[in-house]
């Protein structure tokens, strides 16, 4: 069994996962750690999160066979190798939801629908366009304008019975809609519900355009927003009724560790890659870096 570590350097938080596996199979998750970047130096946050994860996993850095980064490649100066976010989210999601054949990664700056096979290999994907109106950053901004703590967003939305949508085309238009809703006296919960309906509609269209089928694993920060997940599942279940012709079945599931899908996937793929390099006689590329370069 090998020890490997994945670091997901996102735009607002650093996520680290330590895994034990047999070349990326028979995976055991040893530890997960997240730290918000806030206004700190990103390199310091990466180092601190990495060290904390090693301590929690009771792992000596020099015993790690591969440190894999994902997300912002420049933030992790000591990585053995880098994997693209799409690849790591697919593998991480497969670990968390083994029956999933698609992933919906809803991050701070964009959302991405990914189709994958039973190994977690990416078969196709679609991503939201430039506008941030369907993402975590937008929702976080609105929550701040409304004075609602992030952890309360999901419950407030679920408690609301309102079905009023905001614009899903553009964050600027959506914010204008929110201002109108505030002036019309709608509660924070109703407004957040409206935003969730709007984002979920966009995500369903994204999944369909990517050709996703079957179980969809939700990853990224917004996968923990219970209000959004509830609306999304609701829209997927009702979608068939509205469709003119039958659509391939789609169901979505989140996981309490969804936030760490990228880091977990990076850790698993790192171990897999290490095994491949060993088989190809190219392990020399990575041995020079072992021993916890951070």
């Amino acid at each position: 069994m090998q020890l490997s570590l994945g670091i997901d350097a996102g735009s607002s938080a650093i996520k680290v996962a330590v895994v034990k596996s047999n070349a990326g199979e028979d995976v055991e998750l040893l530890a997960t750690v997240v730290q918000r970047i806030r206004r700190r130096n990103v390199f310091d946050v990466v180092k601190a999160t990495y060290e904390e994860a090693c301590i929690r996993a009771k792992v000596d850095a020099k015993d790690l066979c591969y440190v894999a980064s994902t997300g912002d490649v420049d933030a992790v100066e000591f990585a053995t190798g880098h994997f693209y976010g799409m690849t790591t989210h697919a593998r991480g999601a497969l670990f968390l939801v083994p029956e999933a054949r698609a992933v919906l990664d809803i991050g701070a700056l964009h959302a991405r629908a990914i189709r994958m096979d039973e190994r977690g290999k990416v078969l196709g994907h679609r991503m939201t366009s430039q506008c941030a109106s369907g993402t975590g950053q937008f929702l976080e901004n609105i929550a701040r304008y409304l004075g609602v703590p992030l952890e309360d967003v999901g419950q407030l939305s679920r408690d609301s019975g309102v079905k009023e949508e905001v614009s899903s085309v553009c964050a600027v238009l959506a914010e204008t809609d929110v201002i109108n809703m505030v002036s019309r006296g709608l509660t924070a919960g109703d407004i957040l519900r409206g935003i969730h309906i709007s984002i979920a509609g966009r995500l369903v269209r994204l999944l369909r355009s990517a050709g996703a089928e079957g179980m969809v694993a939700l990853t990224g920060g917004l996968a923990l927003d219970t209000g959004l997940v509830s609306v999304l599942c609701d829209q997927l279940s009702k979608e068939q009724n509205k469709a003119k012709k039958p659509l391939p079945p789609l169901t979505a599931r989140s996981h309490e560790l969804s936030l760490f899908a990228g880091a977990i996937g990076a850790g698993i793929l790192g171990a897999y890659r290490h095994d491949q390099l060993a088989k190809r006689g190219r392990l020399g590329v990575v041995t020079a870096q072992l021993g916890g370069a951070a």
């Binding site: 591969y66 490649v73 420049d74 990585a79 053995t80 190798g81 880098h82 994997f83 693209y84 976010g85 799409m86 690849t87 290999k121 990416v122 994907h125 991503m127 430039q130 793929l269 897999y272 890659r273 491949q276 390099l277 020399g284 590329v285 990575v286 020079a288 870096q289 370069a293």
Partner: protein, 390 residues
């Protein structure tokens, strides 16, 4: 510890980014009687120009640093970007330092650009350079010698020194040492790609577009010495050969985007003109014939060069093997006929040889790289993990 290469890379970047050609203007002040001879991609015999006391200057268009206002009105929408930005630079006065411009026979667009240049700037010398497509010394070689003599004659009429064999031998020797330094840099990139980023090598090599050969060689050597002092360590990236960017250059941030996607670009055809000839050109006998023979017999395979009965793609596969690359990225400028007409044949050869490949197009002023990043990242991971492009 600070990066020992930062100073030379900054100087190179400044030379590349300043489209008003500060090094050329400085050269002209130091050589008031010297001609400055610009040339469009891919290749002209630079030693011929240097031997006549002139400074050859490679013109790569305006990149992403210039808004095209007038340049667009000279070309249809289905034409690549480099002629538009070159016209724009000319009309803005940024290329005023050039006394002459050579337009090599790479494609119809560059040929047409030469014609427009002649009309737009009638006081400047504008010459079409017909490079041979027959590689028999008795035919193409003889033709190319005549072509070089014609160019030399035209430059003399504009005030350049007459072409003397000894001066040409010395210029060839200087060019040989420059190419040897670039070859050493290319070798280091192949053996220790973590020590030299392709984007840095790009800047240092491209800076030579506006420098005399000896000055550029010194810069490349300084860079080599500096990067060897770096405390660099290997990174598990995918090794790729990048082809298709031999004329219009991709935006610098695009090269960085590919690197950030986990790709080590271990071979490329950026600024191919500075590396067109493999190995040294002998200058002992008739130097102008030596220049001709070198182009015919040791010129690099590229889309605008006829290869007769040879197999298309064989040269590329040879480069993949020599650089131990895992895959190939085709990065051609939009509407670049030579690159895009060649691409299907090269892709076919790579597929047949089991070499993973992917492709995208760019324009020199492309500003958004998200899609390319996605594609390159997916390609890099697919090759790294599954050993295939998809």
């Amino acid at each position: 510890m600070s990066d020992p290469a930062s100073s030379v890379v900054s100087r190179a970047a400044a030379l590349v980014e300043d489209r008003t050609l500060p090094a050329v203007r400085a050269w002209k002040e130091a050589h008031p009687d010297g001609l400055v001879v610009g040339y469009l991609p891919i290749y002209v015999p630079r030693p011929l120009i240097e031997a006549m006391g002139a400074l050859p200057v490679a013109v790569f268009g305006g990149g992403d640093a210039i808004d095209i206002i007038r340049g667009d009105s000279y070309f249809q929408s289905y034409i690549c970007h480099i002629p538009r930005s070159t016209v724009e630079l000319g009309l803005c006065g940024d290329l005023d330092a050039l006394d002459a411009v050579l337009f090599p026979s790479i494609c119809d667009v560059i040929r047409n650009l030469g014609g427009m240049w002649r009309m737009l700037f009638p006081d400047k010398l504008s010459l079409y350079v017909d490079l041979p497509q027959n590689f028999d010394m008795a035919v193409g070689g003889k033709f190319y010698v005549h072509e070089m003599q014609r160019i030399a004659g035209e430059l003399v009429k504009r005030g350049a020194k007459p072409l003397e064999p000894e001066a040409l031998r010395q210029a060839i020797a200087r060019e040989n040492t420059r190419r040897a330094a670039i070859a050493e840099l290319d070798l280091l990139r192949r053996t220790e790609p973590w020590r030299v980023k392709a984007s840095e090598a790009y800047l240092v090599i491209r800076a030579g577009a506006t420098l005399p050969a000896a000055e550029h060689e010194a810069m490349v050597r300084e860079f080599l010495a500096a990067v060897r002092q770096r405390e660099a360590r290997p990174v598990d990236n995918v090794r790729v050969v990048l082809v298709g960017s031999f004329c219009e250059q991709p935006p610098f941030d695009l090269i960085r985007a590919l690197e950030r996607s986990g790709c080590d670009i271990v071979d490329d055809d950026f600024q191919l003109g500075l590396r067109m000839i493999d190995g040294d050109i002998p200058g002992d006998d008739d130097p102008i014939e030596a220049l001709s023979r070198a182009y015919l017999e040791r010129g690099r395979d590229t889309a605008s060069r006829y290869i007769g009965d040879l197999v298309k793609g064989a040269g590329l596969i040879g480069r993949v093997k020599a650089s131990h690359a895992d895959g190939v990225i085709f990065a051609a400028a939009s509407f670049c006929d030579p690159a895009l007409l060649d691409q299907p044949m090269l892709e076919h050869a790579l597929t047949k040889a089991g070499v993973p490949h992917t492709s995208f197009k760019f324009a020199e002023n492309t500003g958004q790289f998200q899609v390319i990043r996605e594609q390159a990242g997916a390609f890099s991971d697919a090759v790294k993990l599954w050993g295939a492009a998809s």
